[in-house]
Structures are given as C-alpha cells and as structure tokens.
C-alpha cells in the first residue's frame, strides 16, 4: 500500500514536469527561418533530469526530502554505505575535496548529497553521526536515507552498480556526479581519489556560460 502511494505521488510529479516542458515542444518547426534568433536554452529538455525520480527521502536531520528540492542550484551527488571502511570514506572525502576546491561564490550555492544504499543500517540518526564526523556544512550537505526500490532507481540513473553481499558489506561502483540546477548529469568522476579538476571546471564553466548568456546564475 505504501508502495502504491509512492507511485501515485511519483506520477503526479511526472505529470507536472511533463506539462511544464510542453511549451517548448513546438519550437522545432521554426527551423526554416534562416535568421531566426535561437531561444535561450533555459527550459529545453528536462527529460533527463533526476528530479523525475519522485521518491521520498529522509535527511540526517530526520526531515523529509525530495530531489526536486535541489532545483535551482548545482549538486554533487554520490552513493555510499556508512559501515564501509574502504572506498566510501574516500568517496565522501572526494566530494569534500571538490567542495573545497571550487571558488567561494560557487561553493556557497553548491549542494552535496550523499545517498546510502544500506537503509537498514544507515538510519537518519546514524547518518547524522556520519555527517558530524566529516564536519561538513549541514545546510548544504544532505545524507539521505530512502526506500530500497528508490535507491535502486537512483543508482541506475547515476550509473552506480551495487550488490549486497549479505555480510554487511556491499560491492559498488565509485562515482561522484555533478548535477546542474535542473538535475541533469553534467560530469561524472569514476574511481577513487580522482583529480577534482574535471568537476570543478565543469561548475565554473556552467556558471560562466550562463552569466555570458545573461541568464540567472544557474
């Protein structure tokens, strides 16, 4: 029953997003005008946004959270499990390294999301301890607890594979992903302790392109 309710909610969200994207759909027909001024790309194709997921999460503070709340600002997102002592601390640290490496004006607006794929052990309370260990800004950093099916969906969207080994450990991919303000994947860092530059540069470029086009910051 709970699953059904979630599906209905997801459906409502998707319908809303689809409707919002509709006004641009007739634009292709204008290509015949040689001197046509291109429209700003601001509202085009949100089809590849992670905000379509439509799942309910809980943060380390215990409150409800939905990915759509990330809209309007860029986000660094990665997936871990809390009792992992090998790759996961490196992944969280990689996100923190990126966070520290971006220019301050961008950092103030950057959001970081760490999603656990071990919801049985990583309760919001435990994620709160985990977050405290990393001494990160709780306003900008969210550690998310979710439903197993939603975690699996999000992992698929991010290209993260994981497998519960049944002994408290998981095999998993190591990926840090940059989302733009519309929830689309801009850059992926695969592997551990990778150079931060590709994501930092993508962020700076994203900001610069939009400023040059006279658009809102993100």
């Amino acid at each position: 029953m709970k699953l059904f309710t979630l599906t209905v909610m997801a459906g409502t969200l998707l319908a809303a997003v689809t409707q919002a994207a509709t006004p641009n759909s007739g634009h292709a027909g204008h290509d015949a005008h040689a001197h046509h001024t291109p429209m700003q790309a601001e509202t085009v194709d949100h089809g590849h946004s992670l905000f379509h997921l439509g799942a309910d999460w809980r943060t380390q503070a215990g409150g409800p959270f939905r990915l759509e709340e990330l809209a309007g600002r860029p986000t660094i997102i990665t997936m871990i499990y809390g009792s992992c002592t090998t790759a996961c601390p490196v992944l969280v640290n990689d996100a923190r390294r990126i966070d520290r490496a971006v220019p301050e004006a961008i950092r103030d607006e950057l959001q970081v999301v760490i999603v656990s794929f071990d919801p049985a052990r990583d309760t919001p309370e435990r994620l709160a301890d985990y977050a405290a260990d990393y001494e990160v800004d709780p306003e900008r950093w969210q550690f998310l607890h979710g439903d197993p099916a939603d975690i699996r969906t999000l992992a698929a969207m991010l290209g993260v594979r994981y497998r519960d080994n049944g002994d408290g450990t998981f095999d998993h991919s190591n990926v840090v992903t940059l989302l733009d303000a519309q929830g689309r994947i801009v850059e992926r860092n695969e592997g551990l302790a990778r150079p931060v530059e590709p994501i930092v540069e993508a962020l700076v470029k994203l900001r610069g392109t939009r400023q040059a086009a006279g658009m809102a910051a993100w």
């Binding site: 699953l3 998707l14 319908a15 689809t18 698929a156 497998r163 095999d171």
Partner: protein
C-alpha cells in the same frame, strides 16, 4: 494482488483467460546462482516468492499506460527510456498486429518502465537470483537434461524470433506452471547489472577470458548457455529497450 488478477482476466483473449491467468508460489531454499562470482563458502538463501506465470503482454501494458499516461511513449521522460520505447505500437495508446498485437509479450520497454508497471501491480521485478532459481526449479521439475536445455537455448539465441513473436502463454504451462521462461523474449530482472568485483573493474563484459572461466563452476554446455544469458543482461543499460526483451513481475508473499 486482487487488482492484478482482475486485470489479467479482463485483458486476456477469452481462449487463454482463467486457467493461465495468475501467479505461482515458488518455494524458497538454499541455492547459489549457477554463475559463481566468488566462492563465499556458504549457500545463499532464496525466500518464498510469487511469480507471474506469464510474461506481461502488450494488452497488459496498454492498460498500465492508460492508467499512468506519464508512461506513454510520447510523455515518459527521456531519462527513463531510450528513443525506441514502445516504438512497435502504431500509436502511443493503441495496439496493432503482429508483435504489437494484444496477446504478444510487451517488448521495447525499459527497466524503469518494467519496474513502474510491477510497482503499480503491487509487486516488483524478480531479482536475478529469484528468476534463475525459478528457471532451474522448472528444469528440475521437468527433468530436462542439461544438454537439451543448452541446445534449446543455443538455437533460440541464434534465432531469437523477434521478427514474429508468438503469443504469451501459448499452450500448456510446463513444470511449475510458468510459461515462456525461455524461448519467447528475455526478461528484465531487478538487479540485472551483476556486480562481479569490487567496483566496476571486473564485470562480464570487461573481464578477461580468465575471468570468464572463473565465473563458471563447470565447463559444460548448460553452464555456458546460462552464462550467455548473464552476459546479455550485462549488456543492457536501464533505459535500454529492444525487440527481444520483456518482463514479468514477482511479489512478496503476504
């Protein structure tokens, strides 16, 4: 669950309704996947689960798309499906003939769409372990010789028959009462992206020949035939849709 049974009864052509509509309980047990990732030393455990006796048909999926129009091919967000999603239907909300006929297995569906369908039915996709377990139990029940199983699979792989698919659940249900586990279309499972090592460094596509050999506990035809199924799954992305890939749903016992 009741909704599922009602829907199945409504959409099936009268000739195959009633007796074939429904789900079957698969009794659990200690079991390991036939493709060994690594020697864990302890047998895995499969819990009891329920499985659709037949693959989801075009008619079933049309009902779903009508109830959830956000899954129409002209509305589903691009992140959830590639460009060929439901492309074999003549219209976004209408079926046709041949592979688009109501009683043919639905194909050109992404993993996301298959999961959304099963969730709507109060179920989920079977896990890879559950699906393979059901397949092996069905073979055991029917006493299929390993080489017969292998030869049947090889001939199907060589000619998957996507040009003209048969109706779902045609003829009597063998063994456990499950139709078309092999020979009609391949099926999505929840965890199709089998993780074989720490991280993405080793999987079925990037592993060397030595890795491939390591995954096979026995080097007979049957294991190799099964291995090919695992390998094809590894080739999919979650938004992939193809003419030879459909699904059925599983459910947790009440």
């Amino acid at each position: 669950m009741r909704t599922l049974l009602i829907i199945l009864t409504l959409v099936l052509p009268p000739a195959v309704a009633a007796e074939d509509a429904g789900i079957v309980l698969i009794g659990g047990g200690d079991w390991e996947l036939p493709i060994v990732r690594e020697d864990t030393g302890a047998p895995g455990r499969v819990e009891d689960f329920l499985l659709d006796v037949r693959q989801v048909s075009n008619a079933d999926f049309l009902d779903f798309v009508r109830a959830k129009p956000e899954w129409r091919r002209d509305r589903a967000p691009g992140i959830f499906r590639d460009a060929r999603y439901l492309s074999h239907w003549p219209q976004a909300d209408a079926l046709g003939v041949g592979n688009a006929a109501p009683n043919r297995p639905v194909t050109h569906v992404s993993w996301y769409a298959a999961r959304a369908y099963c969730r709507e039915m109060g179920g989920r996709l079977p896990t890879m372990t559950e699906w393979e377990y059901a397949s092996e139990k069905q073979r055991d029940t029917l006493s299929v010789a390993p080489e017969d199983y292998a030869h049947e699979l090889f001939s199907w792989y060589a000619n998957p028959g996507a040009g003209a698919l048969r109706p779902v659940a045609e003829g009597p249900a063998p063994g456990l009462g499950i139709h078309d586990l092999h020979g009609l279309v391949l099926e999505w499972v929840e965890d199709f992206q089998l993780v074989l090592g720490r991280g993405d460094d080793i999987d079925l596509l990037t592993g060397s020949c030595g890795d491939t050999a390591r995954f096979l506990p026995e080097f007979d035809e049957a294991h190799y035939a099964t291995f090919l199924r695992f390998q094809s799954r590894s080739n999919y992305q979650p938004d992939t849709t193809t003419s030879t890939l459909g699904f059925r749903c599983a459910y947790d016992p009440e």
